[in-house]
Symmetry: C2
């Protein structure tokens, strides 16, 4: 089982890195992108034998306690069996 975790800055937090990418895109003539936000992606390979419920609980705990700085970031995840 694999878990895909995406950690992004909360929408209220400025994202200078995303803004820089957007500016770079504009400079090379890309007009179809109105905004860019950057985040982090984690692919977790889970040990075999976990139930889906146990996997969800574990991934939520790891995402909340280790991968995300809850002051400025939030996370979403999907689990692939």
């Amino acid at each position: 089982m694999k878990a895909h975790v995406i950690v992004t800055l909360k929408t209220s937090v400025l994202d200078p890195q995303g803004q820089t990418i957007q500016n770079a895109l504009r400079k090379i003539g890309v007009t179809s992108v109105e905004a860019v936000r950057q985040g982090k992606y984690f692919l977790l390979t889970l040990a075999p034998g976990l139930t889906l419920d146990a996997a969800r609980a574990e991934v939520e705990r790891i995402s909340r306690d280790v991968l995300t700085n809850s002051i400025i970031e939030e996370f979403t995840y999907t689990i692939e069996e």
Copy 2:
């Protein structure tokens, strides 16, 4: 329309950052995670009026030419209408 782009190291490329996270997880007693790979996530807000085909072409071009170092990285994307 929004595009979600995920850029990851190719599986043949070592990922010391992911390895470090995995070691940290093991140290705090997490045994349910066998491997961690880290990547980057980009949320692109696309200009209104693009067709789905045009959006796909544009997102592929940006991902390939700007967001990904094709020597060591690869990308996947989804488009949300």
